[in-house]
Amino acid sequence: MRIEAERLTYIYGPGLPWEKRALDDLSLRIEEGEFVGLVGETGSGKSTLVQLLNGILRPTSGRVLLDGVDLTDRRKPVWKARLQVGLVFQFPESQLFAETVAEDIAFGPRNLGLDRQEVSKRVEESLLKVGLEPALFRQRSPFTLSGGEKRLVAIAGILAMCPRVLIVDEVTAGLDPRGKRDILTRIKLLHRNERTTVIMVSHDMDEIASLVERVVVLKGGRICRQGQTTEVFSDEESLAGCGIRLPTIPQILSSLGRAGWRLPVSIFDVQEAARLIAQECHRGAV
């Protein structure tokens, strides 16, 4: 599914003393099957943008098109298009509401009009997808889960909808390294095997660098920089201007570069970086 954002502006509390222009005339086009990273400092507008893309918020002005269908058109029923955009909110655990984990996950698929059998099949599948043992978790109350477990249940609820576009907002915050890796692998597979369009919001540049093809950097409600991942993460200074730091390995390479080492910056792979640094060391006969 292709997503087009045309000249989006979003204002929180228009006319109020705390009025806030969260997005400012922003345009963005994401092609079917792309994997895009959305980054930017706190308050830059990332969460606002993704909520507009899934139609939960309506823009103050501008349009959002999903495969050409205008989400902002009040005259047409757009819920079908909307249901294909799965948004895992920032802090999704705050939206768990049902009495059991299974009920919570079933809510979305049921709204899709699926029959009982299909719904329970999807519940099982998505629990497995996020690494929660169905037998142990199905009947538990969401409120007695640990922080990370709640997060996983919320993600399972979205995956159960089998969305064509998957948007995840800070999805790995609070997950343990294995849970993080599992979720990211799962997302990568959805993207690769089912050509799901993925938009990933994250503060973790290491995570972004290892996954996405294209990076969009927001600042103050506008696009501050965008391009291929290697390209965006090769220029420390211009990124710093957008309030963003390089991923760890490029950061180390860049620091060494400033100290006179001859090394490329946009290397994300630890082993590759180790090889290059070792080479330089041996050349200097360490």
């Binding site: 400092e41 640990s146 990370g148 343990d176 294995r178 180390i252 330089e280």
Partner: protein, 307 residues
């Protein structure tokens, strides 16, 4: 100097230590979850410690955190804070003021409409005289570097600033220990750095810290690490010891490990530490433990210069 000593003097009143003896905990309505969220844990947290608790989701970290300040009482075994048993209701408030708690989401712990009010909130509940409250609030705001925001509504602050307000609120109670349960996991890198710097400052001043986190980068500055696995102690030692035991290939490459190490398979070393390990394996003479990326860069440059 004298001033500074005075302002932290409550810390040196007596020997301080939290002692857990054979502590197990099971939640009353744990449904199909493991019977024990925590089992037979014995542990001492001494004054001046900086203990970091790691472990997978659901391994019992928050449960342990809540046992430290009597938010939960052990099902078996005992928890003593400076000699006071947490099951003894008479000590409850004393224990709660000695052991402060900071949670993941600053929004859930901020109650005041302006910053200084929020920080004063806990003190008012303790019945502390107004002039003393004033002094403590000012002092706590200064310690965490938010004095400039005293009159701001907390909801207009960034995540990192809010978390510092939450820390100041705890600090104003003059606790000996502060338990921080994933205080940075909802913050952006800048906010995380702010909060971490504040946390490390507190430790330098003599507050005993217990930090729960999933981020190995943060764990590297602790004096001791405790790893939980399914409610049981899986590792207790220094960050350097843990790094030594984990191979650079990360945890997926668990090839020739013994079972003991395999249990740490959910731990990922930070990229800078993996890089250092790979370089060491490749024959570059680096010291065994370089906690931060800066340390690696500095050491590499020194090596190159001396070559």
């Amino acid at each position: 100097m004298a001033q500074r000593w005075r302002s932290w003097s409550w810390l040196s009143k007596q020997v301080l230590e939290i002692v857990l003896k054979g502590v197990s905990y099971s939640y009353p309505d744990s449904g199909a979850s493991p019977v024990y969220a925590l089992s037979s844990l014995t542990l001492e947290v001494k004054a001046g410690d900086f203990l970091c608790i790691l472990g997978p989701n659901g391994s019992g970290k928050s449960t342990l955190g809540r046992l430290f300040n009597a938010l939960l009482l052990p099902t078996e075994g005992s928890v003593q804070v400076d000699g006071m048993d947490t099951r003894n209701a008479a000590f409850l408030w004393k224990i709660r003021t000695r052991v402060g708690m900071v949670f993941q989401n600053p929004d859930n712990q901020i109650v005041g409409t302006i910053v200084e009010e929020d920080i004063a909130f806990g003190l008012e509940n303790l019945g502390i005289p107004p002039n003393e409250i004033r002094a403590r609030v000012d002092w706590a705001m200064e310690k965490v570097g938010i004095s400039n925001y005293a009159k701001h509504p907390p909801n207009l602050l960034s995540g990192g600033q809010k978390q510092r307000v939450a820390i100041a609120g705890v600090l104003a109670m003059k606790p000996s220990y502060i338990v921080l349960d994933e205080p940075t996991s909802l913050l952006d890198p800048k906010g995380r750095e702010e909060a971490l710097r504040t946390i490390q400052e507190l430790h330098k001043e003599g507050i005993t810290l217990i930090l729960i986190t999933h981020r190995m980068e943060e764990a590297m500055s602790a004096s001791r690490l405790l790893v939980l696995e399914k409610g049981k102690l899986a590792f207790l030692g220094t960050p350097a010891q843990l790094v030594e035991e984990l191979p650079a290939g990360g945890c997926q490459a668990a090839g020739g490990w013994n079972d003991e190490l395999r249990r740490h398979a959910h731990l990922d070393l930070p990229p800078a530490i993996r890089l250092a390990q790979l370089l060491r394996e490749g024959g570059i003479p680096l010291p065994p433990f370089l906690p931060r990326p800066e340390d690696l860069v500095r050491t590499l440059c020194a090596l190159k210069r001396s070559a």
